[in-house]
């Protein structure tokens, strides 16, 4: 099972992204998925988490994710030294940041920049929907497009798909992009990891040090 923990502040759209990822997996990738937010006092700006679980069989365990294959930080001010207590062995942390990060477990992504280039202002949540297919095989880019169509209003489809594609290409073009491998599989199905292969085919292009 692939589990994703999304860290953000209320209003940044973490749950929208978590839900969209779940829809992508459930409606397009033929997987089973759950998506839910932390249920706590929430206001614009308050720290919150959201969760997505993706598996090849129906998911009975609805408990909060303790250790995840992917941990996403939409807002790096939420990051503290104990962040890796939530990371499963072999997992990856995707971080919205402009700075370089010297930790092989961390994939730094300028999500503010990528989203601002399309929308005119930084709304980083859907950037990670493009990043996730680049680092694991649980969902493909096309699955994410389907998730967007299923969960977002029509007027937002085109721009979000552009953001997702831009994010995917930005990552796929990195020469040393880490990959979840087996941890990022749905588990329990007979898939041959075709999407792993697709993600592993690197596009030629400028390396970007985000």
């Amino acid at each position: 099972m692939l589990e994703v923990i999304w860290h953000a502040r209320g209003g940044q759209g973490a749950f929208t992204a978590a839900r969209c990822l779940g829809a992508a997996a459930a409606l397009s990738a033929g997987a089973c998925a759950l998506a839910f937010p932390t249920f706590g006092p929430e206001r614009r700006g308050a720290p919150m988490r959201a969760f997505t679980k993706i598996a090849g069989a129906p998911i009975g365990d609805r408990s909060v994710v303790a250790r995840a294959g992917i941990v996403v930080y939409l807002d790096e001010t939420l990051l503290d030294d104990s962040w890796d207590a939530e990371l499963a062995d072999g997992g990856l942390m995707l971080l919205n940041t402009r700075r370089a990060v010297d930790d092989p477990r961390v994939v730094a992504i300028d999500a503010d920049g990528i989203s601002a280039a399309v929308l005119g202002r930084p709304i980083p949540n859907t950037v990670f929907l493009g990043a996730i297919p680049a680092v694991c095989g649980a969902v493909s880019l096309e699955d994410v497009h389907e998730g967007i169509r299923a969960t977002m209003p029509v007027r937002l489809h085109e721009k979000n798909m552009r953001i997702v594609d831009a994010a995917f290409e930005a990552l796929a073009s990195r020469p040393d992009l880490p990959h979840l491998g087996g941890l990022g599989q749905r588990g329990g199905d007979s898939g041959t990891g075709l999407f792993d292969l697709a993600a592993a085919v690197l596009l030629e292009g400028e390396g970007r040090d985000a």
Binding site: R9, R43, P47, T77
Partner: protein, 137 residues
Amino acid sequence: MERKFTPYLREGLGARPEEFARSTCFTAGHLTSVNAGWRSLRPVIDAAQCTLCLNCYMYCPDGTIFKVRDGEGVCTALAIDYDFCKGCGVCAKVCPVPCIAMVDEQAAANEGASENGTTIDETGGAADGCAGEGAVA
């Protein structure tokens, strides 16, 4: 002796039942969990300029500003509970001097800036002398 319940800053698991009030009532002004993660700006009071007008103390919507008293109980300064302050900036806005600056939270946190603020310690009393009820009964 009357039993009072003074909850204190408490994170993580493993609390014992005795640490909790039996009813939903306990001494006011104490915090059971840090509730300030959404601050992007932090208020810092310039004590040298402060006239102790108490505007900020009265206006803080969350009641996080408290009086620091000397040995005779006279209020000598105002301090901010940074474990609870949300960084709304109302205090800075209503300060007539003005002597409250809203500084970048990341920068302030990195410097450990807390000259005019404090956290409530685990025994239920503020580190700098706010009237507390002492240890949990």
